[in-house]
């Protein structure tokens, strides 16, 4: 007997494909997909009319407006500061560079509540910064600025850590070539360096924005949480849940989810546009 009937299966070079992919898919389903699905189903129970009522109520609208405005302010700050930070860390050698580099990750590692507490302590009327700002008529705690500050604190690493590796990998020959062609340093940054880091930069800013929209721990300490004034959407969802108003909580959460998905979509489109030269 010969074994010609045995099925011929192409052997993969790297073993363990089925097991590893299976584990990944299972994990994704349990940790990511099911909660999102449950939220959508919960939202679907509410019915369109009730859903619309909840999210267009004055308090929800005020919370959403504050959340989005503050997140945009935070992202604008991070877009400027994060790019500068990534640039400084990759382009210059100076004592303490490694320490500074490590400090970037502090917002990731720090419990957000700790961040919120220390920011509140610093910026309240008798804090180190607060007592300097208050006489100038600038109050940070219990205002939208406090909310934006807390958001930018927790999301700054996203911008730095996405731009930094791309800047590091950029072949210095590009800039040298531009220099030999007579370009000034600013022109080189604008027309040679920036377009090449743009996809990563857009991705970093978008994730930072998404994170800011959902930030909770750091914000609730500094915001004061006055309904209609400094109450963020995530907190309002939490309050609804505490009141056993599951539908109200789910509706607000769904709106936040919707924004997050839109952001991911926009981010992907922007990146694809900025990278179009690579595909051809």
């Amino acid at each position: 007997m010969t074994d010609i009937a045995a099925p011929i299966r192409a052997k993969r070079v790297l073993p363990g494909f089925t097991l590893s992919l299976g584990t990944v898919l299972l994990y994704m389903t349990v940790i990511v997909l099911l909660p999102v699905l449950a939220l959508i189903l919960k939202g679907a129970e509410i019915g369109p009319a009730r859903f619309w009522d909840i999210i267009t109520s004055a308090r929800t609208l005020a919370a959403l407006r504050l959340t989005i405005t503050a997140a945009l302010i935070a992202t604008a700050i991070n877009a400027v500061y994060g790019l500068l930070m990534a640039w400084v860390l990759t382009r210059y050698e100076f004592p303490g560079r490694r320490i500074l580099d490590a400090l970037i990750d502090v917002p990731f590692a720090l419990p957000t509540a700790v961040a919120g507490l220390s920011l509140t302590a610093l910026f309240s009327g008798n804090g180190w910064f607060g007592q300097l700002l208050e006489p100038l008529g600038i109050s940070v705690t219990y205002t939208i600025w406090g909310v934006a500050l807390a958001m930018s604190f927790t999301s700054i690493p996203f911008v730095v850590r996405t731009v930094q590796p791309v800047l590091e990998d950029l072949d210095p020959a590009y800039e040298q070539a531009a220099r030999t062609l007579g370009a000034s340093e600013f022109t080189i940054f604008r027309r040679v360096v920036f377009p090449q880091i743009l996809p990563a930069y857009l991705a970093g800013c978008t994730i930072a924005l998404a994170r800011s929209l959902g930030e909770f721990g750091a914000v609730v300490f500094i915001a004061g949480n006055l309904p209609f004034k400094t109450e963020i959407a995530a907190l309002l969802a939490f309050i609804r849940l505490e009141e056993y108003d599951y539908q109200g909580a789910a509706a607000i959460a769904l709106v936040l989810l919707f924004f997050a998905l839109i952001l991911l979509f926009v981010s992907n489109r922007l990146q694809a546009r900025a990278m179009r030269f690579k595909e051809r």
């Binding site: 531009a178 030999t180 062609l181 007579g182 000034s184």
Partner: protein, 239 residues
């Protein structure tokens, strides 16, 4: 433009890349810096281009001291080993880069830039590739585009770092002749770095053989082949 290198030395930290070397390059010459890796040939080329600055010694362009002159002011057309074409720009925009980067007062009109780019594309015999991106080109085409981009600024000299290093043998041969033709047509003083002695011997008017940061011999290809000045040159040429 003639180039005079006067006792140029370069150290990187404690490592010596160039011991004091002296070399005169007459205007319009086509010169090869030939040597193994680590011989200092690329460092010398980068010093001429203003991408590195010497630890001691002087560089003279047409008798004028240019040692501390900035890269931007040197107007040296430089072709990098990796070509360093801007990936996010079309071939047209790559070649036009040096003209577009000029301050507004010195920048040629748009139509004039287009005219010059078209002319350069004809010079490198690739008239139809202006709209393409570097990733869509073959290695040989990229090399020629890099050359055209360097020529667009109307350079005073042409410096090439291993210009054919990344290409296969057949394309190398074609492009050698291409560089020779462009050199003869523009009359630019041209210096190129290579570790390939055939390339140096076939293409250059003058070959400068380097080793360990020093110049071993300067001469016409025939002289170097017939009368190697040192045992190193003899062995290197024989290899």
């Amino acid at each position: 433009m003639d180039i005079h290198i006067d006792e140029i030395a370069k150290e990187f930290g404690k490592a010596t890349a160039l011991k004091p070397v002296t070399l005169s390059i007459p205007s319009g010459a086509l010169v090869a810096l030939l040597g193994p890796s680590g011989s200092g040939k690329t460092t010398l080329l980068r010093i001429l281009g203003g991408l590195e600055f010497p630890t001691s010694g002087r560089v003279l362009f047409d008798g004028q001291d240019a040692t501390g002159m900035s890269v931007q002011d040197r107007r040296a057309g430089f072709v990098f080993q990796s070509y360093a074409l801007f990936r996010h720009m079309t071939v047209f925009d790559n070649i036009a880069y040096g003209l577009n980067a000029r301050p507004r007062a010195k920048r040629p009109e748009k139509a004039e830039i287009a005219r010059r780019v078209t002319k350069l594309l004809e010079l490198i015999q690739l008239p139809d590739i202006g709209a393409r991106y570097p990733s869509q080109l073959s290695g040989g085409q990229r090399q020629r585009v890099a050359l055209a981009r360097a020529l667009a600024i109307e350079p005073r000299m042409l410096l090439l770092d291993e210009p054919f290093g990344a290409l296969d043998a057949k394309v190398r041969k074609e492009l050698r002749q291409g560089l020779r033709d462009i050199h003869d047509e523009t009359g630019l003083t041209t210096v190129f770095v290579t570790h390939d002695q055939d390339e140096a011997m076939e293409l250059a008017d003058v070959v400068v053989v380097m080793s360990m940061g020093s110049i071993e011999q300067i001469g016409r290809p025939q002289d170097i082949r017939d009368r190697p000045a040192t045992p190193f040159v003899r062995d290197f040429i024989a290899a």
